[in-house]
């Protein structure tokens, strides 16, 4: 049986892991490759690295990180952060990344997803969607979740699938950093609307939240950062707990 996946996310800035509360107030949490290898040994099913370094030579920074990760880690990983062209994706995949995550660039130019999936196959194209509720409507936000757009989140998820996304990484900005649980209702709605896997992100605070996002939220994978980085939840315990709650897990 296919298992649900537990995915630690490592935000990387200038070669170091950081994680913000509501994407602000970044705190240092160590070397990304070392941390990634540790998570892999502990049973993480995949890793996501988001490079938030703002440099002119963005692609070079990404490729260096991808290379170091791919050399040292034997589970799949996704790279994201400012990926905006076929050349960026090609460079990351050739350096050993399994998937790339595209966010703001897809909002700017939705046709990019058609191009990328045609060129590289949809299995390696993850579209990251940052969503926030504005006056009762779920709207897509760009630029690290800071800029609202007028795009409806559910319609956007459908469009991204149609254009060739292989997975969706859904981050609820309303829940991110709150530790109050994932956005289960919205996640379930999107998961039932599209036919590609959904990675839910934002709001993990305890182990029960993960049970909820897989059952109520119908997520295929759950992503979290700070609760893993600051050792509030250990991955082996989390997976054992989920398995005892009848969630399919690789132990």
């Amino acid at each position: 049986m296919l298992t649900k996946r537990i995915i630690p996310c490592l935000d990387v800035k200038d070669g170091k892991t950081v994680k913000g509360v509501n994407f602000l107030n970044l705190r240092d949490a160590g070397d990304p490759v070392e941390l990634g290898a540790l998570y892999s040994q502990q049973g993480a099913d995949e890793l996501v690295f988001l490079d938030i370094t703002a440099t002119l030579e963005k692609r070079k920074t990404l490729v260096e990180l991808v290379k170091r990760v791919a050399q040292n880690i034997n589970i799949p990983f996704t790279i994201g952060g400012g990926i905006g062209s076929i050349e960026d994706v090609s460079a990351c995949l050739n350096a050993g990344a399994d998937k790339v995550s595209v966010n703001s660039s897809a909002i700017k130019n939705p046709g990019l997803i058609d191009q990328l999936s045609k060129e590289f196959g949809n299995q390696c194209i993850v579209v990251a969607i940052d969503t926030r509720s504005v006056n009762g409507k779920n709207l897509v936000h760009s630029h690290g979740g800071t800029k609202p757009t007028d795009i409806d989140t559910i319609l956007w998820a459908k469009e991204m699938q149609e254009r060739g996304a292989g997975e969706l990484l859904l981050t609820s900005m309303d829940h991110d950093g709150t530790k109050a649980g994932f956005a289960n209702e919205l996640t379930a709605h999107i998961s039932s609307t599209v036919s590609i896997p959904i990675i839910a992100s934002g709001g993990a605070g305890n182990m029960e939240h993960f049970t909820d996002v897989f059952t109520k939220g119908k997520a295929d994978a759950a992503l979290a950062a700070s609760i893993f980085h600051f050792k509030e939840i250990a991955i082996p315990e989390l997976k054992a707990y989920l398995k005892s709650n009848n969630i399919r897990m690789r132990i």
Binding site: M1, L2, T3, K4, R5, S40, D45, A70, Q71, N74, I75, P76, S90, L93, N94, A95, G96, D98, F120, G121, N122, Q123, C124, G166, E167, S195, I196, P197, D220, A221, R250
Partner: protein, 193 residues
């Protein structure tokens, strides 16, 4: 030992190279016929789309070269599918080394099949030291139908052949290079065949 990786247009082989490096092997990435023929072992990995890959291999005469190889050959992911007879992906005639057919998953669950799933009915030296129901990592939308040459099966939407063997040709649908310790053992087993 000389291990050659078939160089063609199906991308993302860097992680396979790194995985071999971790096992102490420096593979040669080549589309040179003589170099492929003289290698002790051949890896045929890749991700991508079947018809483009076949077109590329035919244009360079690599289709015949691969079929005639006598040393152990290991197809991974699209490599496995290309070793079969035919793929529903853009109605493509493949290499026909293994008489099996590649089909698209019916849309009864999410496709692609992405993530960790179990392998069972293991029967090949490729799986020496690998337990039944071990977890490996899959990413694919097309699958190989159950057939007499299967050496392992997986269940997703339906039971299918996730690994094949015929004579010197071995192949798996999943990604051993991404399947943690289990995957490493399978790669090691191939190297030690």
């Amino acid at each position: 030992m000389k291990l050659a990786i078939v160089k063609y247009n199906a991308g993302n082989i860097q992680s396979v190279i790194y995985a071999l490096n971790r096992l102490g092997i420096e593979p040669v990435l080549t589309d040179d016929v003589e170099e492929l023929k003289s290698a002790d072992k051949i890896l045929f990995p890749g991700q991508g789309e079947a018809s483009n890959a076949m077109q590329y291999l035919r244009a360079r005469g690599l289709d015949k070269v691969i079929k005639d190889l006598k040393q152990p050959v290991f197809g991974i992911c699209i490599g496995q599918q290309l070793l079969c007879e035919h793929s529903e992906e853009n109605n493509t005639d493949c290499l026909g080394v293994i008489p099996a057919k590649v089909k698209k998953f019916p849309p009864l669950d999410k496709v692609p099949h992405i993530g960790w799933n179990t392998i069972k009915d293991l029967k090949s030296p490729l799986f020496k030291g690998v337990n039944e129901d071990s977890y490996v990592y899959f990413v694919h939308s097309y699958y190989v139908e159950a057939n007499p040459f299967q050496i392992a099966t997986t269940d997703y939407i339906l039971p299918y052949a996730c690994a094949l063997q015929k004579d010197n040709f071995y192949a798996v649908q999943f990604h051993p290079e991404k399947s943690s310790d289990v995957g490493e053992q399978i790669l090691k087993n191939f190297i030690e065949l």
